[in-house]
């Protein structure tokens, strides 16, 4: 994927020079290993800072919300699905966008890699499906396939579903993937075990809301946790309030979540809150045959009323 950078710069420079877009939203090289920073380029000469590698896990659809400019946006598979959702939900117009699609080969899991080393990681590079990690006293070569972000390892939509330009040839989609093995394990638990599991899952939460704010779906002008009249949820790290926040947020994402992993990636204390959204994603798939963000022609199942709905309770 490293070779994508040149093509991204070339396309971006052209779009800016032609005046087709006012800005291109992409990533620039971060100041830490395994971190890149979302950024914009407004002048053709700014495209030199744009980069692409396996550390672009933040979802750039999140940076489009309610913008007024004409925008070129770099979009891997999940970003493109959230762009579709954004368009359906009127958070951006299709004709404002030039989508520069990036056929994705997965992002690497910086927490997993960090936990594999005793000492601080000083640099990480990639080459031909390998990840080369250097610490102060050692160098190790890892197989990228083995250190993918958890959501990328089970991703079946690596190619952008909507695009105007492509940064590379489309990649082969992963096949025969068991997407929900982890969810089935939790589903099989007794109520008591589930309770303990969720207690433990969310115990480290500091209520910073990085998960919510990294999520392209969470664009409410005032989130329910920030409402004060009435105040729905307490402000402390009381376990009940913390769980209320996570559970309710997950429900708000039902049928809209693309499992892009931005929430888990953003969490400063490493909580896998994707467990919650993924369960709902699984239900939407199993009950309604629905995967979010694949088409501009249908609204998410929990967002649509159909007179011929087969369920009686809704009539």
């Amino acid at each position: 994927m490293v070779g994508y950078t040149d093509k991204i710069r070339e396309i971006s420079e052209r779009l800016l020079k032609e005046g087709t877009v006012d800005m291109v939203i992409g990533f620039r090289q971060g100041s830490m290993p395994m971190m890149n920073e979302p950024c914009f380029a407004k002048r053709p000469e700014d495209v030199e800072k744009l980069t692409w590698d396996s550390n672009c896990g933040i979802n750039l659809a999140n940076y489009l919300t309610d913008r007024k400019e004409k925008i070129g946006v770099i979009a891997k598979g999940c970003d493109s699905r959230n762009i579709v959702t954004h368009i359906i939900e009127n958070k951006i117009k299709r004709d404002q966008l030039v989508i520069i699609g990036v056929p994705c080969k997965g992002m690497i899991d910086r927490r997993k890699i960090t936990s594999m080393f005793e000492t601080e990681i000083l640099s990480v590079a990639e080459e031909d499906g390998k990840v080369i990690v250097k610490t102060g006293d050692a160098e190790k070569i890892l197989e990228k396939e083995e250190v993918l972000q958890k959501n990328c390892a089970v991703c079946i939509h690596r190619n952008p579903v909507i695009y105007d330009e492509l940064a590379a040839d489309l990649v082969e989609e992963q096949k025969d993937i068991d997407r929900y093995a982890d969810i089935r394990e939790i589903e099989a638990m007794s109520p008591e075990d589930k309770w303990n599991y969720f207690d433990d899952l969310l115990s480290a939460c500091v209520r910073c809301y990085a998960c919510r704010n990294a999520c392209p779906l969470c664009y409410c002008p005032t989130c329910f946790v920030d409402e004060s009249q009435p105040q729905w949820v307490g402000k402390t790290t009381d376990p009940i309030d913390t769980k209320t926040f996570h559970f309710l947020r997950a429900y708000h994402c039902a049928g809209r979540c693309t499992d892009c992993g931005a929430c888990e990636r953003a969490c400063p204390v490493g909580i896998n809150m994707r467990t919650l959204t993924k369960k709902l994603e699984k239900d939407c798939f199993e009950y309604y045959g629905w995967e979010a963000g694949l088409t501009l022609d249908a609204r998410p199942p929990l967002d649509a009323y159909k007179p011929d709905d087969p369920e009686d309770f809704i009539k």
Binding site: E37, Y209, G270
Partner: protein
């Protein structure tokens, strides 16, 4: 100054003695990372860490702290009257706080303990505390303490400085409070040439610091020019406006006051707040003077690197622990922002604007 040698085999016994007279706090590994918290009975602090995920500020300034309690039950004589919440200000000791976190308390003190205003909750907790610091023999690549008025063996804010010397700790006595604690633990063997040993370790540690910031130009910059600098849109673009940087920061001191009522009884609490949140500045009228994320990101950096510098005249409101750099989900790096601010020349920048 006196340096005591503490054999590591005497460590647990000494802490057990201390636990009779002090509530002990220290770094503890919880799942994947270390946090600073009150130790359970018999629990030992775990020194196999670079730094704790969150700073140690919660020892004195908890994320949520009850100030008052009240009853709404009109059958009770004192209903609707705020009463002091019970507090435990018995002596407490931080065992293994990093020097940067201890130095941060001195910065925060300027806010909570002034001639005009005194925050009794912060002051009482701070004064009840003894800080036994653990010097950093191996600082991280993101530590820029030595250029932020601090350092891996920095002593300001500590009562005792511990240095790990292999089989034993060297404990440098900095205050009377610290001396008293060491005596209570039964650690009283003076080290041979202790100060020299510490000095050697200190030099080695300082030589390992690779990151730095320049702050010499901040004071002379014109506030309104920095405020209007063209780089803020670029700096703030990636920001998610989550509260991570402020929550993990040892020097971020802002708090909110919240009432929580359950049935007819309730508490009034002090809770951490963050200038990254829109709610932080939302007025009752609905107006928000910091209505965009550019406003909010600028505020955080201007506060730490300009307003504080001008108001207190003792450097930046940062000890260089690097937590905000390591934990920012989108890699906004205070070192880069500090450099932009420190080297900003309005005339030059004006030429660069498209």
């Amino acid at each position: 100054m006196k340096v005591i040698k503490i054999d590591k085999k005497d460590w647990a016994d000494g802490l057990a003695k201390l636990s009779g007279g002090y509530r002990l706090f220290g770094p503890v590994k919880d799942k994947e990372f270390h946090n600073f918290k009150e130790l359970d009975n018999g629990e030992l602090p775990d020194f196999d860490f670079s730094n704790t995920k969150l700073s140690a500020k919660s020892m004195v300034f908890p994320q949520a702290e009850a100030m008052f309690k009240y009853s709404l039950d009109e059958n009770e004589a004192d209903h609707h009257i705020m009463k002091e919440a019970e507090k435990d200000y018995s002596p407490r000791a931080a065992i293994g706080i990093r020097p940067c976190d201890a130095a941060a308390f001195l910065l925060v003190k300027k806010n909570f303990d002034t001639p005009e205003y005194k925050d009794p909750y912060w002051i009482n907790a701070y004064e009840a505390s003894v800080f036994v610091g653990l010097a950093c023999n191996n600082p991280c690549s993101t530590c820029f303490c030595t250029s932020a008025g601090c350092g891996p063996f920095h002593e300001d804010g500590l009562d005792v400085l511990l240095a790990d010397a292999g089989d034993y700790f060297l404990a440098k006595v900095i205050t009377d409070k610290g001396e008293k604690l060491l005596q209570a633990a039964g650690w009283n063997t003076e080290a041979d040439a202790g100060e020299d040993q510490i000095e050697t370790l200190k030099k080695e540690a300082e030589a390992k610091i690779t990151a730095s910031v320049n702050t010499d130009g901040l004071k002379d910059k014109i506030t309104t020019e920095l405020y209007d600098a063209p780089f803020w849109e670029d700096v703030a673009f990636a920001c998610l406006n989550c509260g991570t940087c402020t929550y993990v920061c040892p020097t971020c001191w802002c708090f909110d006051i919240q009432d929580e009522t359950h049935g007819t009884s309730g508490i009034r609490m002090k809770t951490w707040d963050s200038c990254m949140y829109p709610l932080f500045t939302l007025h009752g009228s609905g107006h928000n003077p910091r209505g965009t994320k550019v406003h909010r990101v600028r505020q955080r950096f201007m506060h730490k690197l300009k307003y504080y510098v001008d108001k207190y005249g003792d450097g930046i409101q940062c000890v260089g622990c690097g937590r905000c750099i390591r934990l920012c989900p989108v890699n906004i790096d205070i070192r880069k922002v500090c450099e932009l601010m420190n080297s900003y020349e309005p005339a030059d920048a004006a030429c660069q604007v498209a």
